[in-house]
Symmetry: C2
DNA sequence: ACAAAAGTGTTATTTCTACACCCATGC
DNA sequence: GCATGGGTGTAGAAATAACACTTTTGT
């Protein structure tokens, strides 16, 4: 039996997901390692003819990583001819990742739709990769392993999109624990933007968005002075996600 | 001979272009009317397997409307299942727009990539529609005729994207003649944003972008006081297109 | 005591918003 | 002369950018 029932799939169309996490002042990206293959890949897959593409993105992510209920944002269609590579497919075939029946499917020219999402990171998190994949790991954006096809460019494009979106949309809800310190939130911004921000100005600007609820609690146990904890006002956060932040015109 | 050599086309993938123009304080959209068919459509088409999707968008636009050298921006992939409609394809078949050989091609499930562009409007402009189409016309965004499939939603989505892009990118170069008055530029913004702007504040803000060159000339012949003419500083305009305008963080 | 992170406020500059009067032109 | 659109400035409010000292805590 072939790996996939190709008859029901949308031909020449794939989906790739760039899943961002955040840990210790680094942006992490979720990548999969195929069995018997030296390169890594994004969690991706194909589109069932009977399902909406956006829904399939969610389904694929779940199938390949075990992640559920992730809100994915479509950001670009990658449609260059040269993104396909016969050499790559042959290598997959030689590594027995693709069987004979599947070869004709994989040798098609593919275009792929990129989706990205931000999810909570936990270093001990266990993913349940599909049985094609040997492992599913977080890797630092600065330290992405060798990726198949144009997956590195897809990651870079997603990061660029995210940087831009930061100007219109709130961020952090999915990247941080429920309660977090101002410094932690600032670190998220600094990391994504790849530049340092002034502590006092950051605090003022973020608080002006009126999306944060200061709790009177403080982070216990850490070294040095205990910082205050904040949490998001979920209503206002989601409202801002929909309407965007102050925009200009 | 079938209309298209389907063997060389990427299956299940189409492109639709939303071409915006601007005239008399209205946003115009370029739409095509098929022969023997009561509904209108966006200029769109299929993707050759051997060509980049982005390039094919330009090619398709030229083929269907005669427009050359238009810079198209990809903005969304429309991939819902329900956007396809057997009834629609049957209607096209009954109207002899699709022949027997083509039917199997058109009955596929399609996803479509949306592109948009802003081009100069001239009321007397002659388009050279392909021979499937009866005419190619500018229609007001407020007065879009009945469109096939989800083309109306594609137009609305493009407009929404454009509104958002206005905060990051300069606009007007392709929509206005080489020299234009401040009021004309303001009208472009007001029309796209669908809201009035203060004349003096608009002027100040736009001039702060440092993309406009004031000519000392004035528009001749018009009624009432003669306005000054401006033109874009092309270098700075294109720089701003690439880098975006002031963004926030 | 000291090293490291956290809390906090002011000032100067820039940007934003709201608003009104006079000018040029064609009729 | 009048209707219409075009040109221009200011004052108050808000946002931004730059900047330093004190407090808490663990070692």
């Amino acid at each position: 039996m072939p790996l996939i029932t190709y008859q029901t799939l949308h031909p020449g169309l794939s989906i790739d997901c760039v899943i961002f996490g955040f840990y210790q002042k680094e942006i992490k990206v979720l990548v999969l390692k195929l069995k018997n293959f030296e390169k890594w890949s994004l969690p991706g897959g194909f589109v069932d003819q009977t399902k909406d593409v956006d829904d399939e993105a969610t389904n694929i992510l779940k199938r390949r990583t075990g992640l559920k209920n992730v809100f994915l944002r479509q950001f670009h269609l990658f449609g260059d001819v040269k993104r396909n590579s016969d050499a790559h497919i042959n290598a997959l075939f030689n590594s027995k990742i693709i069987d004979n029946d599947s070869l004709i499917w994989f040798k098609q020219r593919f275009v792929t739709v990129g989706y990205y999402a931000l999810i909570p990171f936990s270093p001990s998190q266990i993913f349940t990769p599909d049985n094609l994949s040997e492992s599913c790991e977080w890797r630092s954006l600065k330290d992405i392993p060798e990726m198949i096809l144009d997956h590195k460019e897809i990651i870079d494009s997603a990061h660029k999109t995210l940087k831009k979106e930061l100007n219109y949309q709130p961020i952090g809800l999915n990247l941080l624990p429920e309660q977090f310190t101002m410094s932690e939130l600032q670190a998220v911004y600094e990391t994504i933007l790849e530049k340092p921000l002034d502590r006092r100005n950051f605090r003022r600007k973020i608080l002006n968005f009126a999306m944060l609820i200061p709790t009177k609690k403080q982070r216990v146990g850490g070294a040095y002075r205990s910082p205050y904890l904040y949490q998001f006002d979920l209503d206002k956060y989601h409202l801002a996600l929909q309407n965007g932040l102050s925009s200009g015109w």
